[in-house]
Every structure is written in structure tokens, then in C-alpha cells.
Symmetry: C2
Subunit: 365 residues, 2 copies
């Protein structure tokens, strides 16, 4: 195959529950400008990937398809793949791979999956890592970009690096993928220097992914092929309606990465990307904040703090916000809901959202 | 003099700065329902006094005269005395005394001054104390109602009780008035059992007050008499305009109580009134709160707290408020300004308001 294409596949789903009340089911994290740059996380992701690729395919849900198209005027309509319902990352990425393979039957298509709601500040390092990963992927490996861990996080899975691949600089064999560790284990990981965070950035030939899927998830493989064949035809809706609900809900890490790593089929390209998953208010505050100072996402002229070092305020209503004597306060002021918390309790915002779900306060979700 | 009247004089002024952002210059504390009963502090004061008196005179500023009249449909128009500008409590109470003495030349008028913005939960005890104070006042003494101190507060002045008066049960000579003490001194006061809080509740014959004023503040005395003579005539405005600005700004405690106590001219009626000056968010929270629980001034269905024992929330915009992991939080949510603080920092709200004044943020004051 002479021709070769590299497509980015961007799964754009997930409400970003721990960023409530700014992030909502109807207005999720990837549609928000969380860094005060004027660009949403989705737009930043697209801007980062478009120059590196031959195309960017966004996989999103029916509820957000219009918003995705509106935020990405450069995206081609047929590059927005709309899932009828969320069925986890393997179905989303597998569908994109199958559709792209179907559309480009005589071409070598490499795909890379990149979440729509992460932040990367080191654009040049990211571009380098992606180029290296594509080169390795052409050797029929599945390649993950391994994020340099700057602290022993218990919030992420890790990838354990093995020996250098030899034929491509900056790429290593993967020994194993691990689940989110406890604090002690995370500290041990960091001390060895051999572990990187797994941020779900996978680069591989579409055909290689589909072949592995055929082995590890044969039913899903057949279902995705059937959908892909119908995708650009008038049968799309009827096939989707019949097949999509039958697909196993499983993450790509469990479906492919873990079993394949035991066969030596995965490589890792370690990289320092200034990466953040912006998973909660604490991580966003750390991304934005001056050390010990007050950080504001929005119009800082609305915010006054006294005796509240490390405060993080989102003044999203135009109202004045005064924080007095609450160090590390997190105050998120939206038109219908107000959150008052601290960085330390950022993870527990999920508890709040769960409670709202339990009481069926759907207008606040 | 056969006839005898007892009038309450209610100075209604003061913004209640430390209750920002609910209390504002244009909508001050006494005009607010701060206890969730449906009645404002001014209305509660009037309801408490009307049954005990022959009339209630409210002394307020031009800015609030209409609101006072609107909140008190039972008040007679000529019982709202409007000051052209604030000149502290001696001028306000002295003016009411002079006007009442002028209106009731042949009658023994006793007056009692009671702030418009305090809370009293023990209405029967208050009525008893007032009746006792009026009886003592008929002996030409100035009588103060001394509040049982339930903690060594540094926020109030104290009155030191001496020997029982003898001829009226429940009344004592006053040894001295004291300024706000430091914490150590306040604890010593409490330990003796002889000190009561001075809440500025003074009961005395109008004539007695004016006679003392003639001795201690002769210029003010003459000025107030001149104003009072013109009050119910067409000359009121012109005389007010000329004389009022010349009156010394001084509190009644300094003008009368302190010098008179050194002459033995003051008595005290101690009483347990469930009194609070609702001076800041902490004192309001303590007034409303269940111990260690969350207290809400307003619609409690809007408020959810997790890990925030002792939180106090004022949801005054209809928005949902979530407090997560901030014990003793104070959250006051108003349409144009939000305060996030803790009970511990309640006193410092004044610092916030001073800062807003300094930056001339008048729309927030």
C-alpha cells in the first residue's frame, strides 16, 4: 500500500462530573473553556491535532453532536461520528477505526485516540511524541504515549516501560499496564523511573486494531464491521439501531491494551507534555494558579479574596464574589447552582452529583 | 401631673456593615427579616413595644423614612421622626425626647430607647423588665436594662451593678459603665456576677433626660429645644436645616450615662432576654442554628451541605447552594454579590466593606 493516512480519533463524551456545577450533562467538560484561553477543551484538542493529521474524527453522543459541529467549524460533517448511546471507549474507538478502514480500503490508515477533554501545554513535545508513535505504529505495534508522572497520583493507571525498541528512538516495549494504584504503590512506581501515566492515547494501524479486536472481542468486531459497512449508506440508522445496543461496554485498556501487553504487542513513547486530565477542581486550580495566590477562571475583577491563599474562583454569573478567610477555597458560581468547597475536597464533588442524581434534581445535573 | 405616658423611642439607623452582602446602605439590617419569621427586625421591635407603651416613635434617616412607614402600617405618621443626617444616638434620642416633651407639655412622659435591629426572644421577661424600669424612672433616675451576659463578649460595653435600690424589686444602683473590654477583663467581669451587657436600652422621664442634657451638653440641649419647638410647625425644615448640623455627634452612653453614673443617677434592671444584637454572621448563625448542624436563613430546600458542620447559608437568589467540606462555612448568596467565609471570620466582613468603600464600588455597598 503506497498511500498512508493518519487520522486522529477524538472520543468526546463524559460529563466531567467532578467539575460540577460548571460541567453538566448537557454542557460537559469538553465543551467548556476551562483554561480561560477562549477555546474549549475540544477546540484546543482539535487545534492541536489538525496540523499533525490528515483528518480529525470526533466520536460523540447524539446530545452533543450539534454543539461539537458548532464548536469545530473546520470539521467535516462526515468526520463527526455520532453514537446512539455511550458504550465505553472500545466501541467508540473501534467504530471510528472500522469506518475509516471501510472508507479507505486501499490505504494504510493509522489512527490515534486522544481524549477531547485533556489539557496539553507542551505542544511541540506532543507533536514529536505523536510522530514517533506513528512511526512505531507502522511496525504493526499498538503504541501508547506514556505521560511523565510528576507526582505519585492514585487517579491514573500506569504503563510500565521495558527495553528500548531499538529501531525507533524514544520508543520502548511495554511490560504491563496497571490499574490505579494505592498511594504507596504509586510512590514506588515513581521511584523506579520506569512508570508513566496512561492517558489513553493510543496510536496504531486501524487494521491492526481491528485484527486484535477480532481475537479479543470477536463479537464486537463483527458488530463494528457490520455497522461500518452500512455507515455511509442509507442503512446506517437501521443497522446502528439493531447492532449498537448489543456491543459490549468495555474500555480499550481492558479490551486490547492489557491482553496485548502480555503478548509483547504494545510499545510506549514516553513524553513530557504538560498534560492534565483536568479531572477535578483541584487539578484545574493547579493548572491555572499562581502558587499560593488566588486563581480565577473568568473575569478576575469580580473576585476579591482576603486571607484565602490558594483560593480558586469561577465567577460565571457576573456577580461579585468575596472569599474571606477560607484558604484553598473552591467557589464555582453559576446561574442556577453554587458550589463552595476546598481543593482538598475536590474529589468529593462526585458525591454531590450522585446525591443530586439520587434525589432526581435533574435540572441541576 | 396626673396623666402619664410611656413612649418607646426606636433609633432606626446603621447599615449593619458586618452583615454584608445582605445588609446594604440602601437596605440596612433593621429593614431585613433576619430570623426567618416573616417579620423584619424593625417590625419585631415595634410588635414587642407597641403593647407595652402609649406610642412608638421611630427616629430614622431621610433615606429610610418611606421604608419604615411601609413596614409599620400601625405607626402614626407624626411618630416617624426623620433626621436630616445621622448625628449619633444622643441627638436622635434627645430629639425624640424634646419633641415628645413639647407635644405633651402637661403630662409626665417617660421614654425608653430600644434599637430597631436587635433580637429578643424572651418577650415576657422583656415586658417585665420594661415595667420595672418605668417604675424606677418615675423616681427620676435614668434606668438601663442590663442584659445577662452568657459569655465573656468583647463586643459590648458592660454596666457594673451596685446595691439593690431597695424600693423597687429587681433594680440596682449602677457603679459604672465600661467600654468594650479585652477578653481577659471580660472573663473577670463574668466571674464576678456583677456585670451586665449594656445594650443601650435606657428608660427615663423625658424631662429628666433633657435636664441632664442641659448640664452635660448645654449647646445640644438648646439646639434640640429650638428644633422641638418648631417641629410641629411650618418652620421645622428651616430650623432643622440651620441647627441640626451644629449638634455634637456623641453617643448617649458618653453624653449622659457615664457622667451620670459617677453621680449615682443611674439604675439598672438586670434581665435575661434572649437578646442578640445580630452584629455579624456568627451571632446570627448562633441565633438560628441547631448545634453543629446546618442553619439556613431562607428556603432550606435550596441548600445541601456535606462535611460542613455548623455551616450557615443564606440562599437569597433561588439558586441551589452546595457546601462541601467547609465546616462553619458562612455563605451569603445575593443577586449581585456572594460572600464565602466562616463563622470565625465574621467580624472581618467589615474589612471587606471598607475595601469596597475604598475602591468606590458603591453598587455593592
Amino acid at each position: 500500500m503506497a498511500a498512508s493516512l493518519f487520522y486522529a480519533v477524538v472520543p468526546a463524551g463524559g460529563a466531567g462530573t467532578r467539575l460540577w456545577p460548571l460541567s453538566r450533562a448537557g454542557n460537559p467538560k469538553f465543551l467548556l473553556d476551562l483554561t480561560g484561553t477562549g477555546a474549549t477543551l475540544l477546540q484546543q484538542t482539535w487545534d492541536r491535532l489538525a496540523p499533525l493529521t490528515d483528518g480529525v474524527v470526533v466520536v460523540t453522543g447524539t446530545r452533543h453532536a450539534d454543539a461539537v459541529a458548532a464548536q469545530l467549524p473546520g470539521v467535516l460533517p462526515h468526520d463527526v461520528i455520532v453514537e446512539p448511546s455511550p458504550r465505553d471507549s472500545m466501541a467508540a474507538i473501534g467504530l471510528a477505526a472500522a469506518v475509516l478502514a471501510q472508507r479507505h480500503r486501499d490505504v494504510d490508515v493509522v489512527i490515534g485516540s486522544f481524549a477531547a477533554d485533556h489539557v496539553i501545554t507542551e505542544g511541540a513535545a506532543f507533536a514529536d511524541a505523536v510522530r514517533t508513535a506513528v512511526e512505531v505504529a507502522r511496525r504493526d505495534l499498538v503504541v501508547t504515549i506514556g505521560i511523565d508522572a510528576d507526582h505519585p497520583s492514585t487517579a491514573f493507571g500506569y504503563v510500565e516501560m521495558g527495553e528500548p525498541l531499538g529501531d525507533v528512538d524514544g520508543a520502548y516495549a511495554v511490560e504491563a499496564f496497571t490499574e490505579k494504584p494505592d498511594a504507596e504503590t504509586a510512590a514506588e512506581y515513581l521511584a523506579t523511573g520506569r512508570y508513566r501515566w496512561n492517558a489513553g492515547m493510543y496510536v496504531m494501524r486501524a487494521r491492526v486494531l481491528l485484527d486484535h479486536l477480532a481475537r479479543f472481542q470477536p463479537t464486537m468486531h463483527l458488530g463494528l464491521l457490520e455497522i461500518a459497512e452500512a455507515w455511509d449508506t442509507q442503512d446506517r440508522e437501521s443497522v446502528l439501531e439493531r447492532v449498537w445496543p448489543t456491543l459490549t461496554k468495555i474500555a480499550i485498556d481492558h479490551a486490547i491494551s492489557e491482553p496485548l501487553s502480555r503478548e509483547g504487542g504494545i510499545a510506549v513513547v514516553p513524553a513530557s507534555l504538560g498534560w492534565s486530565d483536568v479531572g477535578d477542581w483541584r487539578s484545574l486550580a493547579e493548572l491555572i494558579a499562581a502558587d499560593g495566590g488566588t486563581s480565577v477562571l473568568g473575569d478576575s475583577s469580580l473576585v476579591r479574596t482576603i486571607g484565602s491563599g490558594g483560593a480558586f474562583v469561577v465567577p460565571a454569573t457576573g456577580r461579585a464574589v468575596v472569599v474571606l478567610g477560607v484558604p484553598d477555597a473552591v467557589v464555582v458560581d453559576t446561574p442556577d447552582a453554587l458550589l463552595v468547597s476546598t481543593r482538598e475536597h475536590a474529589q468529593q464533588v462526585k458525591v454531590v452529583v450522585d446525591a443530586l442524581k439520587a434525589e432526581e434534581a435533574t435540572d441541576l445535573l
